[in-house]
């Protein structure tokens, strides 16, 4: 059904993780009959297994709701879902650019969190209309008055605008739908002008080729049109266009201002990248839309197959996964310890974990990730300019280095004020400097720190949660590079340097980190048939030494009578366990050991 532009509404839901975004989306789908309640699985939009398991949205989705409002007219509501984790703020901003409005979901018991602030600022920057919703008002611990006060004082949101809701109980859903219709403006754009459709997401479908999600700025898309992607230059005859409801429902035309999907038949996602503009190949627009800044990788790590012969499989897997997630980067690299693999750049640590897990699950691979690193700028001596490295193993020798610069971030933390002390301590221990503090309500504060990104990616988030009983939340943005006294920490296992364990650390903390790393490796590397010395060194100076004692017993002393089958199966299980380890020199090192420094110290 074609709905006139004046009755279209494009909106996102922005929320802090766990504040109920996915549940609210589920209720909106139900209320508009997009989905049969009997077929309702929870978190319909989070279709990836990983998303359901982790309770987060990783990929943005778009879904079309048709809603008959109180005025009796049918409106087309395009809900563009957004990821809720700090690593994915890049995807959030991309989604928001396709909208005119955003529903801001705030947990009535938890109140404003760091990501709430970050996302609201993103939405305001895009000029979006905000529909504030207090969710979970059915909870006994809900404090709607306090949280409305917060919204008013921190975000200047008048309390009259706030809708009280419980997505779980279905309270406030019709008010939200009416507010979307009444408050969010209809999109603009002339359907008769030459086509300009912004690609805001894409995925690869094995039958239909590359499927892109588009928002039409102007013009009209028609079935079987021949289109051109203005940046890549690729042309294609459209196989299908339509709306996600949330199943794919084909339509004949999509008009300016609307959001939908286009099956291009293109086999390579690089030809239809996010941010590109689709136009007509016959009567093209003169200019592409501004598009997006490329996602910036902040965390880098090597990804290697456990077994060297799987390298070609890993290469194929990475290429295929990249079709679905263009926000990580990859290029081949080799490691003395780990063989051939890829250096990958990620939006953050969670993103890194997700990419690794998807590669393992969706492509059935066993992988090792090296210790993550940030990107450093190294100023060389004798005026030889500067280089950028994202792998500690590539750090030049000390005599060639004039200075090393590292990326810093501005960190925003929202926390109950009782945890101000512990968070000050945590952040200064991480070489951070305190910038300021403001009360967002009588008991909660917004703290700001500047901090080296490298200190943040090492378990800072876990520590933040641990030290505040889970109450604090955080968000960060980059603020450029600063020089620091950094050195490379190398690790030798059984006398062999293991390049994948090298780290760049601050000189003042190098001894402490070296000791911790050696101790953790001692815990993580299982006992072998011989003693395994572990050394941490800076240059030729060994700063920490541990040793994994030789294994003394690994025997099934009992043979289970005549039950040889059970014994053989137990041996096969041990063999499988060994297969999950990487042999470096003569030592079997488990996957976790390479991420030793990311583990939160129990103390």
């Amino acid at each position: 059904m074609s709905i006139p532009q004046a009755r279209l509404r494009n909106f996102s839901i922005i929320a802090h993780i766990d504040h109920g975004k996915s549940t609210l989306a589920d209720r909106l789908l139900e209320a508009t009959h997009a989905i049969d309640p009997r077929q309702m699985t929870s978190q319909v939009l989070d279709s990836m297994d990983l998303e359901r398991e982790k309770g987060i949205t990783i990929k943005a989705r778009a879904v079309r709701l048709e809603y008959t409002a109180n005025d009796g007219l049918v409106y087309g509501l395009n809900l563009i879902d957004t990821p809720g984790h700090v690593d994915f703020s890049y995807e959030v901003s991309r989604s928001l650019q396709a909208c005119e409005g955003a529903i801001l979901v705030v947990d009535a018991a938890q109140g404003i969190e760091a990501q709430t602030l970050a996302n609201v600022h993103l939405a305001l920057r895009e000029g979006l209309t905000i529909v504030p919703v207090l969710n979970k008002i059915d909870l006994p611990s809900a404090q709607p008055d306090v949280v409305m006060e917060e919204l008013e004082s921190v975000l200047a949101i008048p309390r009259e605008e706030v809708i009280l809701a419980s997505a779980k109980e279905g309270i406030g859903i019709s008010e939200i739908l009416e507010a979307i219709v009444a408050r969010i403006p209809a999109p603009k754009g002339d359907p008769s002008l030459p086509l300009q459709a912004l690609v805001f997401d894409s995925h690869y479908d094995q039958y239909k080729g590359v499927i892109v999600y588009v928002r039409l700025a102007q013009g009209t898309l028609r079935d079987h049109d021949r289109v051109r992607l203005m940046q890549s230059g690729a042309e294609a005859d459209l196989l299908e266009l339509g709306f996600f409801r949330p199943a794919l429902v084909p339509v004949a035309e999509i008009h300016a201002g609307d959001v939908g999907y286009v099956a291009t038949g293109l086999k390579n996602v690089r030809e239809a990248q996010v941010g590109d503009t689709i136009t007509s190949a016959v009567s093209p627009a003169s200019e592409p839309l501004p598009g997006y800044q490329e996602a910036k990788s902040l965390v880098f790590a090597g990804i290697y197959p456990l077994s060297g012969e799987d390298y070609p499989l890993l290469r194929d897997a990475i290429e295929k996964l990249h079709l679905n997630d263009a926000s990580f980067t990859y290029e081949p690299e080799s490691s003395v310890a780990l063989g051939f693999g890829f250096r990958c750049g990620f939006l953050g640590l969670l993103h890194m974990e997700i990419v690794q897990e998807r590669l393992e699950r969706e492509f059935n691979l066993d992988l090792i990730a090296s210790a993550p690193s940030v990107e450093y700028q190294v100023v060389m001596t004798h005026g030889r300019g500067s280089i950028t490295i994202d792998n500690p193993a590539h750090l030049p020798t000390i005599s060639e280095i004039e200075a090393i610069l590292e990326p810093w971030v501005l960190l925003s933390v929202v926390t109950p004020s009782t945890y101000i002390g512990p968070l000050m301590e945590l952040s200064t221990n991480r070489r951070g400097s305190f910038i300021g503090l403001e009360y967002i309500d009588p008991v909660r504060v917004l703290m700001k720190f500047e901090l080296p990104l490298a200190e943040l990616i090492v378990d800072y988030f876990d520590q933040l949660k641990t030290r505040t009983a889970g109450y604090a939340s955080m968000d960060y943005e980059e603020i450029g590079y600063r020089a620091a006294n950094l050195v490379k920490l190398d690790v030798m296992v059984a006398g062999e340097p293991v390049d994948a364990l090298s780290m760049i650390v601050h000189r003042d903390k190098s001894v402490a980190i070296g000791r911790t790393l050696a101790e953790r490796l001692k815990q993580l590397i299982p006992r072998q048939m011989f003693e395994v010395p572990i050394q941490a060194a800076i240059g030729s100076n060994v700063i920490a030494r541990e040793s994994v004692r030789a294994m003394r017993k690994n025997v099934v002393a009992k043979c289970y009578g005549g039950d040889i089958t059970r014994k053989r199966k137990l041996l096969e299980k041990q063999k499988e366990g060994k297969r999950r380890m990487k042999r470096v020199g003569s030592v079997e090192i488990p996957q976790e050991a390479f991420l030793a420094m990311l583990r939160t110290d129990e103390n």
């Binding site: 011989f530 005549g562 040889i564 041996l571």
Partner: protein, 505 residues
């Protein structure tokens, strides 16, 4: 090979042909301790025991099922006769005919007075064992039925016992559970059925597992009269505190009494099972335990590191699984005990045992087993040498040279299958089989062979699956080569055997 002379002519010839040293007989010093000594070399003590079935009870009256053996025709799935061409050349001991008639028989008796929290064997206890609603009688009827059905299959496959292709058994083993709880005449009746339907070689080993408690160990004289030649006592420990902590019912002094009874009854071979690496155990206490054990003058010792596996997690406890689910209390006990085990301590205990028992004239003929010369358990050697063995009773495992077969663990379904109303033929109990492919077979042969002090032939070092691992394992001092070209595990190799074995499967 300690199977009585003449039982297995063809196989003995094939194996003896493996190398000149295999026939070392008189030259080998059977009392020499240490891994290099050949446990199977016949020595003066080998035939020292009294004749196995000498007791009068052994001939007393007709066997319980006195009717004619079931002659209802060969079962449909009788296996093909052994392929005579598969009989290997003298240099290829592995090429014995794959499927062969059983040389040993295991009978599982699943009753105990009470359950021990660490035990994984198929056991029922309490009211099922004693009292008005006990299941013993029904079990025994079912067991006799299974023996008959298995014997029918063997007859169809190999011919009747005594025929050339069906040598009599060299070993019969009553395991459990606590088979010593069975009345002596029941044991005698079963021995007679076995003698009639499977054949028992002259001098065959007939073992009964026993618990030392006065109300559990049974009447040694009745057992001897039934033809039992060997009693294996589950002593587990020799101090009362440890016994209590392991949930054992007996006390240390019961072990001495039980052994005295057995000796007085004329049991030729007495074995003790002991556990090490138990929670709270120390090396010092273990030294004392071994000294006490030796003071009891057993002929054989099995030393088992307390092994706390989880048959539920291994997927073995389903309706047709060969294990029973672990009770909640036992699960808690195991978790607690596991946390109190220590590999270094266990290794030190093992190393001490190796030295102390060698000093006392015992030969460590297998990773966990030590014997005075001539007292090696022939039954267990059959497992390690991959000789075919039949097995009956819930959870029992059999091997015919090519496939492993097992009965499901649940006693009720075992009894139900084998108990039939008149006119309806009983069925074999539920269970499963697993064909052993050539690779698995080769791996088993090496792994089981290396568990014994006889080891495997040096020629295996150039064959899969050992060829890829021989060098490093020898360099790591896990393997050594004896003067007579056998590959054996060193003491270190025994302690770390899974490091090698897990690479061979």
């Amino acid at each position: 090979m300690r199977l009585a002379a003449g039982t297995l002519p063809a196989i003995d010839r094939a194996r003896n042909g493996t190398g000149p040293a295999a026939q070392s007989g008189p030259a080998a010093d059977p009392t020499a301790p240490g891994p290099a000594a050949d446990p199977t070399a016949p020595g003066p003590a080998a035939h020292a025991g009294p004749p196995a079935h000498a007791g009068p009870a052994a001939q007393s009256g007709p066997p319980a099922h006195a009717g004619p053996p079931a002659q209802s025709g060969p079962p449909a799935h009788a296996g093909p006769p052994a392929d005579p061409t598969a009989r290997g050349s003298a240099s290829e001991p592995s090429l014995l005919p794959a499927v062969r008639p059983p040389e040993a028989l295991y009978i599982h008796v699943p009753f105990c007075v009470s359950l021990c929290p660490y035990c994984d064997f198929v056991v029922v206890a309490g009211a099922a064992t004693r009292g008005p609603r006990n299941r013993v009688t029904a079990f025994l009827a079912a067991l006799r039925r299974e023996l008959d059905l298995r014997a029918d299959l063997a007859d169809a496959r190999w011919g009747t016992p005594g025929s050339l292709s069906r040598p009599p058994l060299g070993s019969l083993y009553f395991g459990g559970g606590t088979p010593s709880l069975l009345p002596g005449d029941e044991i005698a009746g079963i021995v007679e059925i076995v003698r009639l339907r499977f054949g028992l070689a002259s001098g065959a080993e007939v073992t009964v597992e026993s618990n030392p408690g006065p109300d559990e160990r049974g009447d040694a004289r009745a057992l001897a009269d039934a033809g039992v030649t060997r009693i294996s006592f589950g002593a587990q420990a020799l101090d009362d505190d440890t016994l209590r902590s392991l949930g054992r019912r007996h006390r240390a002094r019961d072990v001495r009494e039980a052994i005295t009874d057995a000796r007085e009854a004329g049991i030729a071979s007495v074995s003790l099972d002991l556990l090490y690496d138990t929670p709270g155990g120390t090396l010092q206490a273990w030294v004392g335990t071994l000294d006490s054990a030796l003071s009891l003058a057993p002929d054989h010792l099995s030393l088992y590191a307390l092994t706390l596996d989880d048959p539920d997690a291994e997927g073995l406890t389903g309706p047709t699984g060969d294990h029973l689910p672990v009770a909640r209390g036992a699960r808690r006990w195991r978790a607690d005990a596991r946390a109190r085990q220590d590999d270094d301590r266990a290794a030190a205990m093992y190393e001490h045992a190796v030295h102390r028992l060698a000093e006392a004239g015992f030969h460590g003929y297998e990773i966990s087993n030590w014997a005075l010369p001539g007292h090696e358990s022939r039954h267990n050697l059959a497992y390690w040498e991959r000789r075919p063995y039949e097995a009956v009773g819930p959870g029992a495992h059999a091997f015919d040279g090519a496939a492993r077969r097992w009965n499901a663990a649940r006693l009720d379904s075992y009894i139900a299958a084998l108990t039939s109303p008149p006119g309806v033929s009983a069925q074999l109990p539920p269970g499963g089989t697993e064909a052993i492919n050539p690779e698995a077979s080769a791996a088993e042969r090496i792994i089981l062979g290396l568990r014994t002090s006889h080891g495997v032939s040096l020629s295996e070092s150039t064959r899969q699956p050992l060829s890829d691992h021989f060098s490093w394992a020898r360099d790591a001092d896990l393997l050594s080569v004896t003067a007579d070209d056998r590959i054996v595990l060193t003491t270190k190799g025994r302690l770390l055997s899974n490091e090698l074995f897990s690479r061979l499967v």
